[in-house]
């Protein structure tokens, strides 16, 4: 297998549902990020992009061939192949692992990989197969996560169930969430994130001048534990609140991956190299534990221990979910996890969670942390609605 490296990343701001990105479909946001990445890296002048692997959870408002549509919209060359990968919130990381396989084996040299989501424009599904002349109104179709009785529970119930099973208290959840907010604010200051944001330009209208949007909408810089503690639990008796859960957000993030040789030929200095990836299923009712299992699976493949890792990214679906993963990983490995290395720059609870984009964002956060701390190994991981975990392990090359 050839060595596979990461060259750069571009993302849009992460907007709130119904917020500043409300009029963009997921493919349109992806195209902005992809175009920005191509321009930033000059990849089309130095070489070519063989393909795009594009993650998304909830599908696109305008097209079912959304990966290809985004490639066309971004103005990438016609021959650029594209596939839409869906593993819910793990889509971006799965895309990264698939791209690494393609490049490592020599079926591609350069891939653009990541994902996007638009909650604002997400389509609702309606039946086209209702029998006529029976007074059956057009009916919405369900969005189920599992056919197994008792397993098709919604995300906040998953979070509360995990808090119950792994013994996570409301206070711990709020503390974790406040920490996520604080860490993100520091991350902006340290430029862990920010420089990779490409503006979303909204053309001038009769009423408004042109807008160039670059600011994440979801973070709450002035959060305190006291404020979080006052929020009502979503479900009676539960620990999950709007403040200790990830958001529903719009955004896209893409990375440029290539073989080490291609990077050398085209004069790129990679940030990191891909070591291995893993994916695994788990019970949908505790889908949040997935990354504990996939991280341990990946670590075993790589022959690495917790102590080897200088950064550990685990997408913050919920504070209860993340804290459960920490506990489970400690139990499975017999090692203690230093939480200063766990999502050290905040996560989905503070920055928001456009499902298909979060995997790529976690990857970049891991790489930036490694660069700034001179660390060696990092992993990034995510749970997936429906019960899965997906992980990837990287090694810093900017030492």
């Amino acid at each position: 297998m050839r060595e596979v490296v990461f060259i750069d990343c571009t993302r849009t701001l992460f907007g709130n549902i119904g917020g500043c990105l409300k009029d963009f479909s997921s493919a349109e946001l992806a195209a902005i990020a992809m175009k920005g990445l191509a321009e930033k890296t000059g990849i089309l002048e130095r070489g070519k992009i063989d393909g795009v692997l594009y993650g998304n959870a909830l599908r696109d408002a305008k097209t079912d061939a959304q990966a290809r549509y985004a490639v066309l919209l971004a103005g990438l060359p016609i021959e650029t192949e594209a596939q839409f990968i869906e593993v819910q919130c793990g889509s971006g990381i799965e895309a990264i692992n698939q791209a690494a396989a393609m490049i490592g084996l020599g079926y591609a040299d350069v891939m653009m990989v990541g994902g996007c989501e638009s909650y604002s424009t997400v389509p609702a599904y309606y039946s086209m197969s209702n029998e006529p002349y029976k007074l059956i109104p057009p009916s919405p179709m369900p969005s189920l996560l599992s056919p197994i009785p008792g397993e098709n529970i919604n995300m906040t119930h998953v979070s509360d169930h995990m808090a119950d099973k792994w013994g996570i208290s409301r206070e711990e959840c709020d503390e974790f969430s406040c920490r996520s907010q604080m860490r993100l604010q520091e991350a902006y200051k340290k430029k862990i994130t920010g420089p990779e944001i490409v503006p979303v330009v909204i053309p001038a209208t009769k009423k408004k001048p042109e807008q160039s949007l670059i600011q994440d909408e979801f973070p709450k810089a002035t959060t305190t534990i006291e404020i979080l503690s006052k929020l009502r639990a979503v479900n009676p008796g539960g620990v999950t609140t709007a403040g200790n859960a990830s958001g529903r957000n719009d955004g896209a993030s893409f990375l440029l991956m290539m073989s080490k040789e291609a990077a050398g030929k085209m004069d790129y200095t990679p940030y990191a190299r891909w070591i291995t990836g893993a994916d695994i299923g788990c019970y949908p009712s505790e889908m949040g534990i997935g990354p504990a299992l996939s991280n341990v699976k990946a670590m075993k493949k790589a022959g690495l221990k917790i102590a080897d890792f200088d950064v550990m990214e685990c997408n913050e679906a919920f504070a209860a979910q993340n804290l459960s993963v920490i506990k489970e990983m400690e139990k499975l490995t017999g090692e203690k996890i230093d939480q200063n290395k766990w999502n050290p720059n905040g996560g989905a609870i503070s920055i928001g969670h456009p499902n298909g984009a979060s995997g790529g964002r976690c990857a970049w956060f891991a790489m930036m942390q490694l660069v700034q701390t001179g660390g060696r190994y990092g992993f990034f991981s995510s749970c997936c609605g429906g019960g899965q975990g997906i992980s990837a392990i990287i090694e810093n090359l900017r030492v």
Binding site: A61, A65, Y69, E81, F84, A101, P123, A124
Partner: protein
């Protein structure tokens, strides 16, 4: 690490249903679920070893879930730790799934994968906006589906078919004859055992006031089109050659392959049909998408250092008669070699059996494997063109010698 060899051990499919036919009460994931379940039972794979993942794709949204493949793994009754990965590439989805499964296996991230695809046109949902402006007496409007951001390049399937005909001057007569050929060859394929045995029958249980519905035979061939019927049809677009009769119809169905390392197959005592030796995808202008299969095939041949003349069977999913004939001419011209028509979709294709878009690629792989076994051939190519302008291909080598 020595290179891992990827083999196709077996496969299964559903009967392919007509729109509103025998599979009409099942979502795409339901159809995929019972096919994967049937494949697992047929091969006893779960009893023998760990299945790592299912890779499944479809063109369209599913009527019951947004996490199609993960949902399917659970419907199939697979162990809870089997991951479910969805890959969409329109008509190339199942071929892309086979390729991505092979790449993950070769890269050491999996040993045993079930790969293929599913489609239910009968039950795919309409999309409506959740961002309707309230209090303005505005009705939620259906969200139209686009395959290109440029509306003048976003042609309908008949116009796409006509474009391939126009480039190579394929006649209306040629299209209708090719359609007859597909039907005749499919009939022979059932008789020869090339296809039919791999169908997993399914009975949708009675319920909600309706009787049980059995789906155990392909339904499109039941409405076989006569030459006279084809000739009488009007072309959909003026000056075109494509009619409702010489384009593949939308169909419901699923098809899956059991894929693993050669080592694992040998260890477990399986006799694989074929070895996966390569695969490729490529982009092409949206309005020329019919030719996509030609270019992904040439890319795959190039990568594997094979020539057209090395191939003993070529499956090219029959989007339409014009498209199939056009891709053949395009490949011959680009490569500078003629293709013997007798190796081209020798067992009929989507024109006769129907096109459940997400599943068709995997069906062509099943057909190619059986054909290679029958004729003791060596190499086979399976390909499909994809809406939005892409092509997907896989290359296989016969192991049933």
């Amino acid at each position: 690490m020595s290179e891992r060899e990827v083999v196709i051990v077996d496969g299964a499919r559903s009967a392919f249903g007509t729109l509103g036919g025998g599979l009409r009460y099942l979502n795409g994931t339901d159809i995929g679920g019972f096919v994967v379940k049937g494949l697992v039972e047929k091969t006893k794979i779960v009893e023998c070893t760990k299945v790592d993942s299912v890779f499944a794709g479809s063109s369209l949204a599913d009527g019951q879930t947004r996490t199609q493949t993960r949902y399917l793994t659970q419907l199939a009754g697979l162990p809870i730790d089997v991951s479910g990965i969805y890959v969409e590439m329109q008509g190339g989805s199942s071929l892309a799934c086979i390729n991505h499964a092979a790449w993950k296996i070769k890269a050491g991230m999996a040993d045993v994968v079930i790969a293929g695809g599913m489609e239910s046109y009968s039950r795919t949902p309409a999309m409506l906006s959740t961002a309707n402006v309230p209090y303005r007496a505005l009705s939620p409007a259906p969200l139209k589906r686009a395959f290109s951001p440029e509306s003048d390049r976003d042609l309908d399937i008949y116009a796409l078919s006509d474009r391939t005909a126009a480039k190579w001057k394929i006649s209306r007569e040629g299209c209708d004859e090719y359609t007859m050929r597909s039907q005749e060859l499919l009939k022979k394929a059932y008789a020869d055992g090339i296809t039919g045995d791999e169908i997993i029958p399914y009975t949708t249980p009675a319920g909600g006031g309706r009787a049980a519905v059995l789906a155990d035979k392909d339904e499109v061939p039941e409405a076989e089109k006569s030459r006279e019927y084809l000739q009488k049809l009007a072309a959909v677009h003026e000056d075109g050659v494509t009619t409702e009769g010489n384009i593949a119809c939308m169909s419901d169905g699923a098809a899956f392959l059991l894929i693993m390392t050669a080592e694992k197959a040998s260890e477990l005592g399986y006799k694989p049909f074929a070895r996966w030796i390569g695969g490729a995808h490529i982009g092409i202008r949206e309005e020329n998408m019919g030719f996509g299969a030609a270019y992904s095939s040439l890319k795959a041949l190039d990568q594997s250092k094979l020539k057209l003349s090395d191939l003993d069977v070529i499956e090219c999913n029959e989007f339409s008669a014009a498209q199939s004939l056009g891709v053949k001419r395009e490949m011959e011209t680009e490569w500078g070699e003629d293709i013997d028509i007798n190796i081209w979709n020798p067992n009929g294709g989507a024109l006769a059996i129907g096109n459940p878009s997400g599943a068709s690629g995997a069906r062509t792989a099943l057909s190619a494997m059986k054909q290679l076994e029958k004729i003791s051939g060596r190499y086979g190519l399976c390909s499909a063109s994809c809406r939005g302008g892409q092509g997907a291909s896989i290359l296989i080598e016969n192991l049933r010698i």
